[in-house]
């Protein structure tokens, strides 16, 4: 009788995704259903995790370059990735209703406000801007502009 593999292909894929998010074999091994550090190292060699991660980074870098953000350094790319993941996790958790059960919508909004502002800071974009409506006078507009 053929021996069934201890870990399914699905678990191996999840392990890579966790490694992508967490960044260390030890961190991944501590997650539920995950194998030991040694097994993860073996999988990383067999499935070429480093190359895959590099490809993902390159993809992000290309994306940023097309957005005109060539000057961004690789540590910034990592931070942007973390923010993306943080947002994704938060959305998943809110949707599933398991861990995050916000009492007020403003809590959710402030969370996303934080990630959005941080992302803009990393990209070197303004985190706030002066906005006006038709209610402002010419004098006020120019005085306000001169003070910014």
């Amino acid at each position: 009788m053929r021996k069934m593999p201890k870990y399914t292909i699905q678990i191996r894929k999840q392990a890579f995704e966790l490694f992508h998010e967490i960044g260390t074999f030890l961190g991944v091994s501590k997650q539920p259903k995950m194998p030991t550090v040694q097994t993860l190292i073996n999988w990383s060699r067999e499935d070429h995790w480093q190359e895959k991660l590099e490809a993902i980074r390159k993809g992000i870098r290309n994306e940023l370059e097309t957005e005109g953000l060539n000057g961004i350094v690789s540590s910034d790319i990592d931070e942007l990735k973390i923010l993306d993941r943080l947002e994704k996790i938060a959305i998943d958790e809110i949707n599933s209703g398991r861990k995050i059960k916000p009492k007020f919508w403003k809590d959710i909004i402030s969370t996303f406000d934080f990630t959005t502002k941080t992302r803009r800071l990393i990209k070197g974009e303004p985190t706030s801007r002066e906005e006006i409506t038709g209610d402002i006078s010419i004098v006020d507009a120019f005085l306000k502009k001169s003070k910014t």
Binding site: E130, I132, T133, G134, I136, I138, V139, D140, A141, F142
Partner: protein
């Protein structure tokens, strides 16, 4: 792009985009600013537009005119257009008497300000339109008008308006000139040509640096149209009355109707402007 300043709307736009758009649109186009910003019932007639354009295009503009041709109205528009398109700027106006400062030019400025189509901003007082410390229009009482009083009014963008200019003393005129030291400095002299001497007369001589504008009552819209289309401008009835009263050869007719400097002063007892000043 449409300026949020000109189209009241709840839609939010970026401040810098609006101010940049505003300056690129209006800084060199005062007439467009006027038509976009001020509610002028019948529009302006060609000479009024000529005055306004000239003030922005020339350092020195002199306007001699007959009665009720809308020259003071055009001056008031110049004051507002300059103040709100040359930012920040100082606009100083004066006239021979306090009554002329307060009751003629500044009455029109106040009226136009209240007929604005958009929110101009600033604080309007009797003789002042204050936007900021270095950004204002001011009607100066002639007594305040000495060289020392002018020291504080120098600015990169400045317009000086001398209303009823022939009656402005040479000291006042010299003080006004002392303000025009910057690249974007402009002087507008406006009045009835009552005296064939002095700074106003000199402005119309061949070698003067002024852009010269002449308005003859006979060219004004109501006279040309043969009917009253702009009730606030000179009408045919007044022309006929003056012709009967003064006669076409009188200096008053030449000055008050034709907008020409009187040529008969040599033979007169006293210059026309002296007589008028004496009459108060």
């Amino acid at each position: 792009m449409t300026s949020a300043l000109l189209t009241p709307s709840s839609k939010k736009v970026k401040l810098e985009e609006v101010t940049d758009w505003y300056l690129s649109t209006y800084e060199n186009d005062p007439l467009r600013w006027i038509y976009d910003s001020i509610n002028i019932k019948d529009g302006l007639w060609e000479k009024q537009e000529e005055i306004i354009s000239s003030v922005f295009q020339n350092s020195y503009t002199a306007v001699r005119s007959g009665h009720s041709t809308g020259k003071t109205f055009a001056s008031a528009l110049c004051v507002l257009a300059f103040l709100y398109t040359q930012i920040p700027s100082k606009v100083i106006t004066t006239a021979p008497t306090f009554r002329q400062v307060a009751k003629i030019l500044w009455r029109d400025i106040r009226k136009l300000y209240t007929h604005r189509k958009i929110k101009l901003g600033g604080r309007l007082l009797t003789l002042e339109l204050f936007c900021d410390d270095d950004w204002f229009a001011l009607g100066l009482h002639p007594r305040e008008y000495d060289i020392n009083a002018f020291q504080g009014y120098h600015s990169e963008n400045i317009l000086v308006v001398l209303d009823e200019s022939p009656g402005v003393s040479s000291d006042l005129y010299d003080s006004a000139i002392s303000l025009l030291t910057s690249e974007n400095a402009h002087l507008l002299e406006i009045g009835n040509p009552t005296s064939p001497s002095g700074h106003f007369y000199n402005a119309f001589q061949k070698n003067s640096k002024y852009n010269k504008i002449h308005i003859n009552c006979l060219d004004s819209p109501n006279i040309k149209a043969g009917k009253v289309i702009r009730p606030y401008l000179v009408i045919q009835k007044w022309i006929n009355d003056r012709k009967d009263t003064w006669g076409e050869n009188s200096p008053l007719w030449q000055s008050r109707v034709l907008g020409e400097f009187s040529t008969s002063e040599e033979n007169s007892f006293a210059p026309l402007d002296w007589v008028e000043r004496a009459m108060g």
